[in-house]
Point group: C2
Chain length 434, copies 2
């Protein structure tokens, strides 16, 4: 199967004569690879979303399980310590392999992170899902490096397609996924070497998830910014958007810093890795009990709004104004959960943090609550990951084109104000922000 591993130099002269002939080969090659990577990742995402749905539902009916958080933590920690040393760096490992190729990502990254994420959610940790899908996509994609004997240059494109496929399919936003893949490994630039493979694969993956998910009764959540509430983009509203964007950017930075803080603290204080999520789980369980002080040990009535994925709260924040502390609480629970070694992504919590913050800001900034929630939803994510174009596109795919200008200004301003930190340590700085 070395037929896909050709380099441009190896092509016959007559093929190179017309500029489009090598492009035809390039397109056929990536249509084939993209269909495989996108199809497999999309099916994987559907199964993952189904597992996540099951875990969240089950926890809802069996809230006693939060007391088992330390045990769940040990399972996850031990799994990674004894089976997953080579894949523990997760998303950063993928970004490193794009910028500093070293060795093929082991396929076991995919099942390990999927199971560990579902476990994290089952036991009530606060985490997301994009990291999981992205790692699944990246690990699946990289297996084709060997199969098709691809060179370094193609392998970089391949990993980007995996990231794009994972992101696209887990959120149902193919264009944002594709742009995320192109944008995430380098701050301040977008390079187009992988533009066709990335978009093609992301679209295939989204289609696969959509269809397989259909069988399992899984669909993506819909968020609504009603067109009729969206005001005109006057100069005044534009400045209000910038102001909100500043808040989103600083919050994105806060989240990144909190993530690194807890991660470093656990690493420096507890040298045996499997013990970290045990202690972390214990603290989380105690914290949940304290938060539900008025319910005593009547765990069935515990309010777990700051734990798990938190999708219902996100949906509510588009219609109801949230409290000023909601976004801070979610920042705390998520950064602590992930810092302790539980698994999952950061993006859905970032949506939560952003939409509750935006929703709260509607008291101080005279824009509609749904619009501010939507702007925050993608804005904080843009600040924490330095991917303003992917976030703008995500806003458009989720909320529609009418709010696009508001979304874009929020995402770009947040990007400007989040500094050169990021939830991904392995992002390299391509261009300074100012």
């Amino acid at each position: 199967m070395a037929f896909l591993g050709y380099t441009h130099e190896q092509l016959p002269k007559w093929v190179k004569k017309v500029e489009q002939f090598p492009v035809v080969l390039y397109i056929l090659k990536w249509v084939l690879i993209g269909t495989l990577v996108g199809g497999l990742t999309g099916i994987g995402s559907a199964l993952f979303l189904w597992g996540l749905h099951w875990a969240t539902e089950w926890r809802g009916g069996h809230q006693w399980i939060i007391f088992a958080l330390p045990a769940g933590g040990f399972l996850i920690g031990a799994c990674y310590h004894y089976l997953g040393q080579s894949v523990v760096k997760g998303n950063n490992q993928l970004l490193d392999e794009i910028t500093k190729p070293n060795r093929i990502i082991p396929l076991k990254m995919a099942p390990l992170v999927t199971v560990a994420t579902i476990a994290t959610h089952l036991f009530g940790g606060s985490a997301g899902r994009e990291g999981t899908a992205v790692q699944m996509g990246g690990a699946i994609a990289d297996q084709f490096t060997k199969i098709f004997k691809l060179d370094k240059y193609d392998r970089k494109i391949l990993i980007i397609t995996g990231i794009a496929a994972g992101f696209s399919s887990v959120f149902g936003t193919p264009l944002a996924g594709a742009i995320f893949g192109l944008e995430v490994y380098i701050i301040g630039r977008m390079r187009y070497e992988a533009i066709f493979p990335s978009f093609f694969t992301a679209i295939v993956a989204n289609y696969a998830t959509h269809h397989v998910g259909h069988y399992f009764g899984i669909s993506h959540t819909e968020y609504l910014i009603p067109t009729e509430v969206i005001p005109e983009m006057t100069l005044e509203n534009l400045l209000l958007c910038v102001l909100a964007g500043v808040a989103f950017g600083l919050t994105g930075m806060l989240f990144s810093k909190a993530n690194h803080f807890w991660g470093n603290l656990f690493k420096s204080k507890i040298s045996y890795p499997p013990l970290r999520p045990v202690i972390g789980g214990l603290v989380l369980a105690i914290f949940i009990v304290i938060l539900n002080f008025n319910h005593g040990f009547d765990y069935a009535n515990y309010d777990l709004k700051y734990f798990g994925l938190g999708v219902p709260v996100i949906v509510d924040s588009f219609t109801t104004q949230m409290d000023w502390y909601d976004f801070l609480m979610k920042t705390l629970t998520t950064s602590f959960t992930l810092g302790a070694g539980f698994k999952g992504g950061e993006v859905t919590p970032l949506f939560y943090i952003g939409s509750t913050l935006g929703s709260f800001l509607s008291t101080h900034i005279s824009l509609p609550v749904a619009l501010l929630a939507g702007m925050g939803f993608v804005g904080v994510f843009s600040g924490a990951t330095n991917t303003p174009m992917a976030c703008t596109m995500m806003g458009i795919e989720l909320f529609g084109a009418p709010s696009a200008v508001f979304i874009a200004v929020a995402c770009i301003t947040a990007y400007m104000f989040s500094g050169h930190t990021s939830i991904y340590n392995s992002q390299i700085v391509g261009s300074p922000k100012h």
Copy 2:
């Protein structure tokens, strides 16, 4: 007014201590500059659109004016030869000043190109308007280099904001305009140094045009891809989109090559520049008479569908299937008109070429005619200018989010297949396409 001309080094130490403080200054600076550049360019665009509207209407009622094409050509040619030697390179001059800064763009670029474009349309030449608006924006923007004593780095950002403002306001697509400014000067990359200024200015400009245009009864044309005709993005439809994208890309390249061909031919055969549009105008007038052979010299009934902006034909192509030669005829008339030295942009003709081609393809590619017309509308433009992200965003802003995936695949595939040629000679290649 040198207060905006500071460099990062000149800032006091305490400002540089917190990463966000210099960003606040940066944002304030570009909010101020962006409001000025965007406001002025937006007002200019509104007046330009009004002039264009008047010229098109007037020609409709006085079709004899096409016989005066050689005279109109002489006026334009002489104007540029005697008054506009320093601004005759147009769009390429702006791109050159971004990548190889040399000297401030004379303000007269703005009125010269505006008047010359309106004259071109009045006499019945086939041309567009984006070049005009972009040159107006760029020339206005660059005047602030002196006023605010900006350095080279800021000047580059400034010109980008001017381009973004012009594009945004003339088409009513602020996000596409902003991305176009970031994307157009270098093939295969998007750099974010100017991301905030570009978006801010583009949005202000669009707002200004919208409001000033309102007074003159000018509004942007609306194109419709009905949501209910848009099919699901299955693997089969995805491959059909790629196929259509190939056609759009090759057509974009054909347009670029035809443009350069006529331009070079006129330059090599006629050494006195004002004579070129005279001869060109004569040929165009004869061509129009031949095309309307059946009407003899009954010019009031002449069909001028391949001349002027051609917006009505674009609108029709979304509902009616066009002939296979429509896009070729428009390619010929536009490349000839511009090559002869008439003025105007290339983008509206590219919309025409793309949407008529897409519309025609609906016989061979089983996708709805409106969708194919929309895909072609931005797809050929993407191929001819190598700006796939701006074109995708433009499709979303004009046709809405539901068709976004189809639009994106068409634009990106067209970009892949148009080679490394471009209607802008001054674009530099940042990354090869494959």
